[in-house]
C-alpha cells in the first residue's frame, strides 16, 4: 500500500518533470539554443509558448529581406521587453522592443537578413517575470529561378540617407488595431563585408503626437537595408518615430492618421 502510494507520487513527479521539460526544451532543436538562452535571458525563468507568435515564410526567397512579425498580444498580460534573434546568424541579435504604453501592441513587423537556414525567435518578458518564447525555422536555400542579389553598389542612399515614408492606416478589420508603417533609407551595413564598416540604426522610439513614448527599440545590423517597421496601434491619430544610427545621425518623422 505504502509502496503503491510512493510509486504514484514518483509517477506524478515524473509527469510534472516531463511537462516542464516539454515547455523548456527547444522545440526547434537548434544547436545554439543553450548558448543563446544564457546570453539573452541569463538564468531567468522561461517557457516555450505558442501564444508568442513569430511569423515568417518557410523559406527565404531573398535572404537580405526576410519578413518577420512578432506578436505577444495573445499572452494577455503586460509585456516589458521582447528580444528578437536568429540563432545561426553571425550577428544573432535583431531587435529588442520595450513596449511602454497600451496604445501600441507588443508586436513589430520588420524585415531581416539571414545568413543560412536558422531558427528565428522572440523572447517575451511578461509581468509575471517569466520569459515566454516563440519561434520558427526558416530555410534559406532560395527557390525557383531565383537570381542572386542584383543590387550593385548603389550610391543612391548617400544623398537620401534618413529620408522617410510612412502612413497611419485605419483598422483593417472593424474593432482591430490601426497600423503605422515607417520606411527609412539607411544601408544598415553589418560590418561583415570587407572594407564596409558597420553603419546601422541602433535606437528608435515611437511616440504619440505629444511626445509621450509608446515603444522604445534597440536595433542591430541584421535588420534589413532601408528598414520597414510596422506597429499596431489603438486610439492614436498621430505618431512620431525617432531614430538614431551608430554614427550619431538622428532622424525623426511625424505621421497623421487617415483624414487626420
Amino acid at each position: 500500500m505504502e509502496k503503491c502510494a510512493k510509486g504514484l507520487l514518483l509517477a506524478t513527479l515524473l509527469m510534472c518533470a516531463t511537462a516542464n521539460a516539454a515547455a523548456t526544451e527547444d522545440p526547434l532543436g537548434s544547436p545554439m539554443w543553450d548558448y543563446l538562452r544564457t546570453r539573452f535571458l541569463g538564468d531567468d525563468r522561461y517557457r516555450f509558448d505558442d501564444r508568442v507568435r513569430v511569423e515568417l515564410p518557410p523559406f527565404a526567397e531573398d535572404p537580405t529581406q526576410v519578413p518577420v512579425t512578432v506578436d505577444a498580444s495573445a499572452l494577455a498580460q503586460p509585456v516589458s521587453r521582447i528580444i528578437l534573434w536568429a540563432d545561426l546568424n553571425p550577428i544573432q541579435h535583431i531587435a529588442t522592443l520595450h513596449p511602454l504604453d497600451d496604445r501600441v501592441a507588443p508586436s513589430l513587423s520588420l524585415r531581416i537578413k539571414v545568413q543560412q537556414a536558422t531558427a528565428v525567435r522572440a523572447a517575451v518578458l511578461a509581468a509575471d517575470g517569466v520569459w515566454y518564447l516563440g519561434g520558427r525555422f526558416i530555410d534559406a536555400a532560395g527557390g525557383g529561378c531565383t537570381a542572386p542579389s542584383l543590387a550593385v553598389a548603389d550610391p543612391y542612399w548617400e544623398s537620401h540617407l534618413g529620408e522617410m515614408q510612412a502612413r497611419l492606416f485605419s483598422p483593417y478589420q472593424p474593432q482591430g488595431p490601426g497600423r503605422a508603417r515607417f520606411r527609412i533609407i539607411h544601408p544598415m551595413d553589418t560590418g561583415l563585408v570587407d572594407g564596409i564598416p558597420e553603419f546601422y540604426i541602433e535606437q528608435a522610439r515611437l511616440e504619440d503626437a505629444n511626445g509621450t513614448p509608446l515603444m522604445r527599440l534597440e536595433l542591430s545590423p541584421p535588420v534589413s537595408e532601408n528598414p520597414m517597421l510596422s506597429f499596431d496601434t489603438r486610439g492614436v491619430d498621430a505618431l512620431r518615430l525617432w531614430l538614431r544610427d551608430n554614427n550619431g545621425n538622428s532622424f525623426a518623422a511625424r505621421v497623421n492618421g487617415e483624414g487626420g
Binding site: P58, C145, R244
Partner: protein, 322 residues
Amino acid sequence: MRLRPPGWLLCLLLLPWPLWQAHGSGFDYGLEPRLVAPDTWLVEGRREAFSRDNGGHIVNVAFIVTDAGVLLFDTGPSRRFGEQLRTAIARVTDRPVVHVFNSHAHPDHFLGNQAFADASIWALPDTREQIARDGDGLAENLYGLVGDWMRGTEVRQPDRSLDQALFEFGGHRLRLLAFGGHTGADLALLDETTGVLLAGDLVFYQRALTTPQTPGLDVWRQDLERLAALDYRLLVPGHGPLDREGRAVPQTDTYLDWLDGLLSASAEAGLTMNEVMQTPLDPRFADIALGRYELQRSVSHLYPRYEQRALEPVQKASPAPE
C-alpha cells in the same frame, strides 16, 4: 566559373556504394520528345519547383526538325540535361542541331547550351547581357537547389544576337517576337508555317508563374495582349502543358491581374509581407500547381514596390532629445 561539389556530396561518396547508387539513380532526366505538330517536338518539364529529385527538369524545351537541320528552343537546366537532350533529339532525327534559341536569361532555359557548342546559339541582345552578367551566379544558385545533376555545368554564352523579326530556316518561316514582361528580355517564336507559338516564360499554364526579374506586372500584361492577338493554333508555354484551346494566355493574364490587384489592395490596407503571403488563394487558380509557393516568392519580389507606392513622404519632425 567552375562548380565545386558541396560538402554533402563528399559525405555521400563515403557511403556504401549501393546506397549511393540508389540516391544518384544515374542522373537520368528521362527525356522523351513528343511530336506535337508537324516537325515540332516537345520535351515537357514537370510541374514542380527545382529539387534534387527532378534535377531541374521543370521547363519545356521544343525543337523543330527541318530539311536544313534542327532548331532548338531552350536547352534546359544543366550540362547533363543538354547532353541527354542532344541524345533524345538524335533518336528522332539524324539531322544536326543547327540553331539554338535561348528564350531568356533564367538558368533552366540556357544552362544546357554546353551540349550544343557546334550550333549557333541565339538570344535577344539584352538576354545575352543578362547571361554575361548573372549567368555564373544563377548556375551556382541552381547547384545549391538541385545538387550534383549540375556537375560540369558552365555558362556557355549565346554567341549570336537576334535583331531580326523574321527567321527563315529549312522551309519554316519563324516570326521572332521580342518582349520583356517576364525578365526584361523575353523571346517568343511563332512558327507561321505550322501555327505553333513557342511562348517561353511569358506564358505559364497550370503552373503558377514566377516573377523574380519582372519589370512590372503591367508590362507583362501588355506583352500578353500582343501575344493574344497572334494567329496560332498551338501554344507551348515555358512551364506547364501545351495548349490547343487558347486557355494559357488568358490564364496567365488573369493570374497577373489578380496578383497585381492583391498586392495593391494589400499595400493600401497597410498589410505586412507575411500577411499577404498568407492570403487565401483565389479559387480560380485551385488547379494551378505551386500556387502558395509562388505567391510567397512573388510577394517577396514585388510587394516592396507596392508598399512604397502606398506610403507617403513624411514631414520631418525636429529630432527629439534623448
